[in-house]
Symmetry: C2
Subunit: 683 residues, 2 copies
């Protein structure tokens, strides 16, 4: 489109001037194009400094952008280069997921590897690798073993993303106290200073773009700094001493990822981040099982019970038995219990050095309950709130996971509640140093935790985590994580609850990384225990979240008594799977509305979830995803005509229709509403 009142001819002329330079224009250009001719990466050296650009379908997506690493000691890897060699290769395989949004994923790219050598003293050797996919581009640095370079420190990574205009961005600022748990802002790129990734943008021309990273291992996490002129610069979270990355050759950086799609739905459907991770390293995955869980959790957020031992203690043997009985009766595979272990009574937010991860409180009979749960056909889900006491946790981690394994506990929820940069690390000087959740020290801690848990056959659900960069492909026991404002904010009056648009933004931003333990499914929306607070949703919307917000460990977050009082919506929550064979996006407008459909991995059932912001919607959903020729019963959980998150959140209708793949359903969503549908072959 043209965004002006000027004549089309003039506007078009300007676009032509900005058109893609042909590779031949520059003698030093090396290019690679994606298998379907969608994206082309062009690498060039300018006076010895490395640059890349990305074109999409014949027009620029990323303009010429700087590359390079600045080292603390000796020559940097950002200039004085010549191309020693370059090579391309093609790759095409379809791999099978252990669990996830789809059962198999095609990984198809063309790769360009440019080997650079500097004329510095000592000379530096650096490979830059580009993978061109039809859904985007990945690039990373590889520092080979070389003379004069053992351990080294990176002071800056110069990677730029020069956007073609001041695109509208959906962003959360980096370097904030409260980890990633903020509402998302929506402004042009020029109006923020820093942003966490995934950073999602939309151009005036209808292209959705997300910048993120894949396989964040042994490195600091990347944030983006806006230069004000539509260029984004990598800004790595530093250690407390200002160094960005402490590493040694040979090493590889995480992949920097650029995903692009005509319309934002394609970003959700893209598997690029997973494809840029290494294949599964866990041989026996039989113990890794997605599932749904309930737990002793929401009652603490409502303030009716406490984590710490005392009169209102939630994690008592008796209360836990009640949850186990409820889970067993209704088919939940897990029962989370928070506040079961010693240490809470000494405080916890950012002060977690005193927690024990093996000693239960005296009123919580861990062994008995773990066994009782297994006998009833469910399992306890463990809980390790570190309170930011990383070194304390590292000391106990192996024993704690081993204990769970012994007890038949297959999953643990970990927590890192502390404000940044305030995670206490003991330095070589013996002093404590405050680190960020998202710097290299913590990246490595989170990874150690996952790998240690895998040794003990324990699945992990991380709260206050490092962002998701697709490591679940390599370590499929890394199930899910928080890393965004979850349901719990809706119970905290002082923080303000999540507005209706929150869950039609997060799937296009935070969730491009991976699953989100949002903990949906509150059916007692008005929170009698919190009279000044409420869920800003209709009942049907809370159900739709089970489809639009994926988590392989998916919570039914409300209290057992509330589900018993609302059997109709609870029927959907009991039915909906946490593991899918296929996922498609039907309607997608960031911050406005989202409709997704997913096929159950274990049956022929399909599920649809549709949610909107504070505006009602009428969306037409063609049922093309259903198997042609099969008649389905659609169990529809929808807003009533007079439903409204504010004035009538319980306006809710359950009905059945008979449908086929040739039908088009009208989805009428109330303000702050949604719709959930289960499609079952009728026979």
């Amino acid at each position: 489109m043209r965004f002006s009142t000027s004549s089309g001819a003039l506007a078009l002329g300007a676009l032509l001037l900005a058109g893609p330079a042909l590779a031949q224009d520059s003698p030093a250009a090396h290019t690679v194009t994606s298998p379907g001719d969608i994206h082309t990466v062009t690498f060039t050296l300018r006076d010895g400094a490395p640059f890349y650009r990305v074109d999409r379908l014949g027009a620029p997506l990323i303009l010429d952008s700087r590359l390079g690493l600045v080292l603390k000691d000796g020559p940097s890897m950002d200039a004085d280069f010549t191309v020693a060699d370059s090579s391309t290769r093609s790759f095409d395989e379809t791999w099978t997921t252990v669990w996830g949004e789809s059962d198999s994923i095609r990984n198809n790219y063309n790769e360009l590897r440019v080997q650079l050598r500097s004329d510095t003293q000592p000379p530096r050797t650096l490979d830059i690798v580009f993978r061109a996919f039809d859904d985007g581009v990945g690039l990373r640095y590889e520092v080979p073993e070389q003379e004069g370079l053992g351990a080294f420190e990176i002071m800056d990574e110069l990677t730029e993303f020069a956007m073609t205009g001041d695109h509208m961005a959906w962003w959360i600022g980096a370097y904030q106290d409260n980890r990633y748990e903020y509402l998302t802002n929506h402004t042009p790129v020029s109006e923020f200073e820093t942003a966490i990734t995934p950073l999602t943008m939309e151009t005036d021309d209808g292209v959705a773009i997300a910048i993120h990273e894949a396989a964040l291992l042994n490195y600091s996490s990347m944030t983006l700094r806006s230069t004000g002129n539509a260029t984004l610069e990598a800004d790595l979270i530093p250690w407390s001493d200002g160094v960005r990355v402490k590493t040694a050759a040979p090493m590889v950086t995480p992949w920097r990822t650029i995903q692009a799609s005509d319309g934002p739905g394609g970003l959700i459907e893209s598997d690029l981040v997973l494809n840029l991770n290494e294949p599964n390293k866990i041989e026996d995955t039989s113990w890794i099982e997605p599932g749904k869980y309930v737990g002793i959790w929401w009652e603490m957020h409502l303030g009716t019970s406490s984590w710490s031992i005392g009169e209102t203690h939630g994690a008592t043997t008796e209360n836990t038995k009640r949850y186990i009985d409820f889970a067993a009766e209704h088919g939940f595979s897990g029962v989370l219990v928070e506040g079961w272990n010693k240490g809470w009574e000494q405080g916890w937010v950012g002060t977690g050095d005193h927690f024990s991860f093996t000693d239960p409180y005296p009123d919580f009979d861990l062994e008995y309950l773990a066994k009782y749960a297994v006998e009833k056909g469910t399992r306890l889900i463990g809980h390790h709130e570190t309170g930011g006491g990383i070194e304390n946790y590292e000391r106990q981690m192996a024993d704690a996971y081993a204990l769970y394994n012994d007890l038949g506990v297959r999953a643990v929820k970990t927590g890192y509640v502390a404000f940044g940069p305030n995670l206490q690390r003991t330095g070589a000087d013996g002093q404590k140093h405050g680190e960020w959740h998202h710097g290299q020290w913590m990246v490595e801690h989170y990874q150690r935790s996952v790998e240690e848990a895998a040794k003990h056959q324990v699945m992990v659900n991380i709260h206050e985590p490092i962002k998701d960069t697709g490591i679940r492909r390599t370590w499929p026991n890394l199930m899910t994580r928080e890393g965004a404002r979850g349901q719990e904010y809706n119970a905290w009056n002082e923080e303000g609850s999540n507005p209706p648009d929150h869950t039609v933004i997060v799937p296009f931003t935070r969730m491009l990384g991976g699953p989100f333990d949002y903990t949906p499914g509150i059916v007692e929306l008005l929170l009698p225990a919190r009279p000044n607070n409420r869920i800003q949703a209709t009942l049907a919307r809370e159900l739709a979240h089970y489809v639009t917000i994926y988590s392989p460990l998916q919570m039914a977050a409300d209290l057992p008594e509330n589900y018993e009082a609302h059997p109709e919506p609870f029927a959907f929550i009991k039915a909906v799977p946490a593991d899918w064979a296929e996922t498609r996006v039907l309607h997608a407008e960031i911050g406005d509305y989202l409709t997704m459909v997913r096929k159950d991995r274990d049956s022929e059932d399909w599920y649809l979830g549709s949610t909107t912001d504070e505006h009602g919607r009428l969306l037409k959903a063609p049922l093309a995803f259903l198997t042609p020729g099969v008649t389905y019963t659609a169990q529809i959980y929808r807003d009533s005509a007079d439903a409204d998150w504010e004035s009538n959140p319980y306006g809710f209708i359950v009905e059945e229709k008979t449908v086929t793949s040739a039908d088009v359903l009208d989805l009428r969503l109330a303000p702050g509403g949604g719709q959930a549908i289960r499609f079952t072959p009728a026979e």
Copy 2:
């Protein structure tokens, strides 16, 4: 979505304040809600002045907006009213089209009629009627027979459309010389002074809105004036004496229409404008046949032949025979011949009083050619260029249509090339008065022409027309019209050709009224006869226009020799129908891209057309529209990987695939490109 960096809670608070007032709030409110509870119209009197508002799914779509008619003489109909009576009724029928985008259309609304009576002297009686559909709202004034009101003149219509914000609009200014033939501007509503309708807007919240009118008869056409504060006011094109409408009681005004959809594709799928027209008045419709035509036309635009008699005259007997033979060989039902009649030699643009519509030039044997065409299985299409000489045309119209009927000519293309306001009308004073194309005088002329043509069983294709307001439902011999920048601009260097986004804007704006005789299908894109000009399209895009730009008389606009030189694209042009059983929109971003599918009315074939602006695209098309269980052969006409409207417009590939309704096709569109597909059941 929220469009700010402020906290969600604050932004939400502001929205709540703007929430819909409940009908009960005002004792004088009368309301009606659409059958699916999507749109609610609320009528109120404020100090005797009529107002309406429209809510969509619980939120305002149109804020309280003024209604009323200002009369020249005596009391106006804009104030001093009380509600004498009000009533509602429901209507639901499915009607069959004679031809069009679909074979049957559901017309389902709830109606509110408010009868107003003023305490003026004499008292005025006015009905205001609202129809609430799920895809929008129509409203009109009905002036009943009443004491003290015979013939009367309307000086102003006060209808307002108070938008809820300064929405981005796609607009063309009213009161311009060159009728509707301009490129479309894209700015907030506040940045234009006047705009023609359909006026299409998009809110920040993802809602697409179009304001237009239906059944424009015996009235002046409505344009919209922007007040600068997001309110649009009806601005009727005046007669040369300043009066807007000359009428008499009883009378009804055209319907003012407001269409709304979550996303712009729904505007294209809406049948609201047709539903607000009266049913078909032509009993025997056997002679009304959609079809495709070639013609002696493009060669004049290329400058290689002339309309006027002389050495390069196009409309010679010999040349016409050549076109007839070509049409017969390739199955076209019509052959348009322009420049066949006497008068062109005296000039024509705005000076058309000398045209004869019955006397052919001596080198054009009308009778012989008409008969020759019928013998070969095709028909001549007549041509009446009035050059703005309306009274001259009115004098000859009946004879001219009768002549065509005698000769077996079933269709005529009429033309009104003149600049506004310069159509010469002889007043009661015997003087000439310059009128607009779009004022009441011409509205009535165009209608007389259509009705007169119907008497003689002649179909009409109007160029330089009044805008389309759906009268084709009532008079289905009104086939198609221009009323926008057509293909011809691409041959006129001095005017500038149509940029690639033009045909991904027009379907969302001008074409919400109805069919557009764009005259697609130029395959010799580089116009050797016009070295400074070209078509800004790839070959595949020109084919896709046959699906995205509907006309029941659809031209294959290029020269016979050019089609013979390009048999592959020509195969699609020969196959594609001009009459459809069903139409759906798959991808829709105004000014960016559009994918539509349509089912042939006479076979089981489906056709897909997808076009983009100057940006390449990768769009995923689920083939849900195909009949489940049937295997189809997809004949795909697509851009090659290196195609580009500018650097490689002929980059074109034809290929076949076997597909079913369960498949999802990747549509890769080049910059300025497109894709056309024919799906045929394979057996």
